[in-house]
Symmetry: C2
Subunit: 348 residues, 2 copies
């Protein structure tokens, strides 16, 4: 007897049932035939409750980041909850200046969820992890009764290593610094909202979900003076800039005409009553760097496939009120305040 | 302006709303006034999307473990989802022989959940983390609509350091090895099920939820030859022994009269139609060690407050079928098979 499973799981018509979270035979089989098969590495094959790995060599520091993903719908133009869960945490590790090493994955499944959809999500995660070069080395599966969850929620936690000399923090931001973004803003949020609202456009707007760690490594290798990085997910660019302003006790001034936003995203935002500055991105970053290095950094970013539309969008200013302001296309200034209330629920 | 929050959160009568997951002002305030305040460490106060920490000194390996917690009800005799979420992951790190260093916490909150309950849970987590000496250094908060979750789900992920020379794995188990448990079995599962079924007993059965890393460190320091450790959570002792038997390609023989189970737990199991060998524990471990070290290990465990009721319950045997068998109190033998179906949903 090599495994205690009499017949393979039916991934075509089967559904998640409570026994898949029981700790017994059905759960062991799901782990074996789905997670271990697709995530495919020796850490998982060891099937302990934790995964051991070598202490990273050299000096520097480590970073840990966690993200639970509850995006709805689970599948959307340009991605799904699976690749999003990998990219989201890889990016959080990268924003600390870290090279991501390993991921964990915790699934909360709703009873009755189609196993075919779960398999599709797991394959997408596996593919994203492989492309990013960051294995999923340990995991956990729980099942809740029908009506107590929503299909699948996925937590990913990542750890990485931060090279010596890199110490990013919003508190290092200084008046005069340049504000850069790595590309077009708002794609992810608009892709999701268009799907929810059943809007269609001439050119479909796709989520920008992507792993940014290679772009970040390139940026930091050339410009280690970068003050801080952050990916503008929930709450978008406006939220990141307000967080930075508060942490650094300064103000931010951005210029509307140079903020890269696709015309289709602008149009969709107008239709949906959204402000693209507050809309989530899943493959973009905001960087603050000393003004004298901004042009060089921009050129570097533009030379990278994930930074082709990068732009310098403004600068850090002195402001005792820690306000974020925007010079509009018409030459006026408007406040870009903290998001109040909920603009886009369950976007990631 | 030191914070952008006009008035403090109402933790007495308030409820989770969608804006607490928006990435905007309400979420920032919840993180600030609840999580950062109670988890209380400089990693969290830095408020980056990831937390940086020094590369652990010395040699050895690291371990990563993750656990999502969906226990229902959220509060139970002897604990709640908060301390359980800390203990569960600390124990998974410890079972790999690791000294836990840091935890992450990912919350999935249901719209409408009372903030007073959330605060109670967070304080319990904070207390458990403090007692264990393992800070919660990074986190994430998501909110789902009413009816799409169940109050609160908590993922914790932990990392730790495994001392040089320690390499635990079920594949190291050999016929002739001794099987030990650290104490009374079934308390956690029976405490939860009694509450759900509204049973009351003369002496209330309390969950055994506890962090076992100090017990493990004591055991490994004296007996580094321990083959493997595992905490018998979902699926209980029976599941752990079946997993070990399969991984080590051997059999297991345990003796019913020496398995430590409280009379009240046995009685409750009979009433509830449960087999205590399959019932979850949250503060117990199963250890396999060479027979010649078993007596010494047992004495050590019994000298620890969390191992006072430890026992040697059987031994590993040769068996091409990888069966787990039990000698009953009446002298016969019965199979202790893999759990089929779901015995205790949402026990952890």
């Amino acid at each position: 007897m090599s495994t205690p499973f009499p017949r393979p799981i039916n991934f075509r018509d089967g559904r998640v049932d409570m026994s898949h979270g029981s700790g017994g035979r059905a759960m062991a089989q799901l782990i074996h035939e789905l997670f271990v098969t697709h995530f495919d590495n020796d850490y998982l094959r060891a099937q302990n409750d934790g995964a051991c790995f070598p202490l990273p060599a050299g000096s520097g520091r480590m970073v840990m980041a966690t993200d639970s993903h509850v995006v709805s719908p689970l599948f959307f133009p340009g991605g799904d909850i699976g690749c999003l869960a990998v990219h989201g945490t890889v990016n959080d590790v990268a924003m600390a200046g870290g090279r991501p090493l390993y991921l964990s994955a915790g699934f909360i499944l709703e009873e009755g969820f189609p196993l075919a959809d779960l398999k599709r999500i797991v394959i997408s995660m596996a593919q994203a992890a492989k492309e990013a070069g960051v294995p999923i080395i340990t995991g956990d599966t729980k099942v809740v009764e029908k009506g107590k969850g929503d299909g699948v929620f996925i937590n990913t936690t990542g750890i990485g290593i931060v090279p010596p000399g890199i110490d990013l923090a919003p508190s290092k931001i200084r008046a005069g610094d340049a504000i850069l973004v790595s590309g077009m803003l708002g794609d992810h949020g608009v892709a999701i909202m268009s799907l929810r609202e059943n809007l269609s456009f001439d050119t479909a707007i796709q989520s920008d979900t992507a792993a940014l760690h290679d772009l970040v490594a390139t940026m930091l290798a050339a410009v280690p003076e970068i003050r801080t990085l952050r990916d503008p997910t929930r709450g978008g660019l406006a939220t990141v800039l307000n967080e930075f302003a508060l942490a650094a006790r300064c103000g931010m001034l951005i210029r509307e005409p140079v903020i890269p936003i696709r015309p289709a995203v602008n149009a969709a935002c107008e239709l949906l009553g959204l402000d693209p500055l507050y809309v989530a991105n899943e493959g973009k970053l905001v960087a603050i760097c000393p003004a004298e290095r901004a042009t060089e950094l921009l050129a570097l970013m533009r030379a990278h496939p994930l930074g082709a539309d990068a732009a310098i969008i403004g600068e850090v200013i002195e402001d005792a009120n820690h306000f974020v302001q925007m010079e509009t296309a018409f030459g006026g200034r408007r406040m870009v305040d903290w998001l109040s209330g909920e603009q886009l629920p369950r976007i990631c």
